[in-house]
Point group: D2
Chain length 284, copies 4
């Protein structure tokens, strides 16, 4: 299992023979499939598949896989991505003042739960620089105000390029990322609280507490221009009672946020998530 | 444990000595407390308590307990209720076309999970009459249309009186109950689906499915004039994946609805729920 | 989606090209795959796959599919099963005195959550005959004592043949099924309580209560000669507190048992479960 | 809510008037109760109560509360403890080689989720010293082998005295603590994995994986001489599937262990746990 693998994520209009066609491509080149999972959305007539195979013994050199597969994919009008397990993705974590999600991600990366490098932390506050130092990660404090929002996003984008970042994780980054920014750098995962029922407006934990909810939740999702409405990767909940005041709810919510965000990031990094029409298929 | 008990549910502005005052009332009359639970809402400066004690050996005759306690409660500006465990409450179940919650409640009552009588089923459709017959319960089909809404509610209210109903359970009753009706008969429990995030408008399961949610929920609550916003008694959730189509979600949702509704009804019947300022304290 | 489908469940020693080989078989015969899922157990070097495809437009007549696939499967030393979605399996439910699992299964079958016929209920007690009558199902009371255990099992087996039963569901059947019986009729699903930690011996709920456990569970599994150790299909848990006495635990346990058993039966009936070396893969 | 409070945890044989007697003691001295919860174990005829009240305005000086209450408690043959919220308990964390529970506890203490000091880490391995340094905590490496077990425990006990430790938390400390040690220092909380069913012997995660369990659990409990059988404070579970190999199970298990241990420690530190006859009542 420790030999490098290639992973293909593919989606296209449904038609006969897709599984066979794609599996044949691997087999014809001597590949050993270690994971194949497929889903068909019948309402949308859409086919989605994840295939992972060992590169050892595969006859196609790595750089020829994409061009070779492209000749299969094009007639199918397919969207597809190819990933190699030994190409380690680079993450930038964006934070504001809260440290729970940041610390959790750093700890998991150290514990090798994620195969990823984290060379960069960006914040709109200077508060968490000490943590960055402790983990020997560059920390860039970029002030974000109404006046200099565009300027700040330009600086952020420049840093992502400079550090060759593949994925941005908003680990309780309390600023809205503009549609323009997302257009230029779309690989962004966010975590936010969720409630049953939902609460609109300021201080949702206080609203949830006042309303006496019995369950609070958290959602890890890709970021889209429409706020908190991007494709959902992972969700979970925790029970609360009247004994929990707002402080307790926030504490329980934090625990949930760090676990749900970590799961979402891990699913993404293992190339388990396929997005289509504002939703995801999670092949796990 | 099988001797009859009295239960006091009380709430009032917080002040010193409330636990002692109330417990003393029981003790002074020779009562043996079998459950005492208390909660203080510090934001609202509000005290809430549930006390249950055995009637065997209690020196006050049953009919004198309320007047005696009233003299304690009045100076405290307290709201309070007194219940006796051997006075069996009478439930009317209201349904439309779906039978899952109805059957579940009937089965649990037969299995003695609820101590309650269910002499009456009201529906705005004739469909479920066979079930009523099977369980030997009166079934009243009352058509509800825009034109005769007020008329229908008058008939419903008349039936509740006639059958001496203490609690109405809306077991997937797909009509809105008017504010006027609730004012006249406020003891109503409802079940409804909940989602993370919430979905407004028609066909929420389809919306949830299209959005790729990973969790669906259900909420059991008291009915207030503001739709689906009454005090929450119980909530729970179940996981879904992209493998679940709308039909699967509805099926999982039904399982959840019947369990959450049953829990909410049972908590109410055991006098475990205290409502204040649009929320509940559940002493369980 | 309502056209009939064929489902292939296959497992064999892992080797290159299995996904391609099997998918090609479907594709070559003009089949449209609607579900393909695969798992490789690397420790055991074992390949497992589920494939479902639409029979409409499939070029092979139904009766030729098995022979045709056999010529592919044999060289692979594969175990495999073929199921058609319009061949409705027949279930016998075995009970003792408790009715909660029985009623739940009957209700779900009526609600079409299961595509199955339930023509037969067998019990070692006469108690639940009224339910059988109510649902118009044959009820056979077969006394089981030490002396006539073999005789009883012969009668049970005879009934299964007579009613052409495909699956036995032990819905709180409180007798041990002998290894000899299982050898002759291996398709049996059972439900039993589970605890953290486990409790050996009589009255496990009392033991769990005495021990102050905070969680109780239930396990739905295939029956093997080793008691309660067969391949696990589904498990779930529910929280309990010190407020729950033994009666409460049993009540919560019953709720869990009926849901977990129903899920296990449904997974089996949808041909989602593959057993290998005393464990299952659940393709769901 | 930020004024200091006193908390009384009391248990004794059940009899009439206990709630009144104890509440009166607080009231007579001008105390404002902010939490009162009571439980009666009817099988064991045992009464248990937790009472918390504000010290501001309480007429008894702190040092006289215990003697005064003792005169009430003695005739009741009660066990009781008195805690003050501003007397910060001191914790020693014991570890072996795994750091996930240690890091989690340290992070939560920094985040003020626990009101406690952590001046001491003891380990039977030198591995985690760097973490201790990073958090500026003394780290004592005490080798534990069969030969020097008694000697090692003497050293450990000496350290607990020297650092004035109130609570030992075994955060994946992989050595058995002797009955002699526990007799001398009984306040020890441990975390261990739990499975449905349970697995005895080495490498339980491998056994659970081989068995195809669908759920794994963790239990936080007080340590007693009988291994892993002490009073349970908190438990929780997480779902696993055939997709999870042993590594995944261990990873999910770690997440669970740190959360369940943190909850157990927090409940203990907030004086929410009462132990009686090998089980707990958790007033939360």
């Amino acid at each position: 299992m420790n030999s490098p693998t290639a992973t293909l994520l593919i989606s296209c209009p449904d038609r006969q023979g897709l599984v066979a066609k794609i599996a044949n491509f691997i087999y014809a080149n001597g590949g050993n499939i270690i994971h194949a999972d497929q889903h068909t959305d019948f309402d949308g007539n859409w086919f989605l598949m994840r295939l992972e195979w060992q590169l050892d013994g595969f006859n196609l050199p790595r750089e020829f896989i994409a061009p070779a597969f492209n000749s299969i994919a094009q007639p199918l009008e397919a969207n597809w991505q190819l990933h190699f397990s030994d190409e380690v993705p680079r993450i930038a974590i964006w934070v504001s003042k809260q440290d729970h999600c940041l610390l959790d991600l750093l700890w998991r990366q150290q514990a090798k739960e994620f195969i990823a490098e984290i060379p960069l932390i960006i914040s709109n506050h200077p508060n968490l620089e000490a943590i960055a130092k402790q983990f020997d990660i560059d920390y860039h404090y970029i002030q974000v105000t109404k006046d200099r929002k565009a300027e700040a996003e330009a600086e952020q984008l420049e840093l992502l390029k400079q550090y060759q970042i593949d994925l941005v994780v908003l680990a309780k980054y309390m600023q809205i990322v503009s549609a323009e920014f997302i257009a230029k750098f779309p690989q962004i995962i966010n975590i936010h609280h969720s409630f049953l029922p939902a609460f609109v407006g300021a201080n949702p934990y206080q609203q949830a507490c006042d309303r006496g909810v019995k369950i609070i939740g958290a959602t890890g999702h890709y970021v889209t221009p429409e706020l908190d409405a991007g494709p959902i990767i992972e969700q979970d909940v925790v029970r609360v009672t009247h004994r929990d005041d707002v402080t307790d709810m926030i504490r329980k919510g934090k625990d949930l946020e760090r676990i749900v965000l970590a799961r979402a990031v891990r699913l993404h990094l293992r190339n388990r998530v396929l997005v289509y029409s504002d939703r995801t298929v999670v092949f796990d």
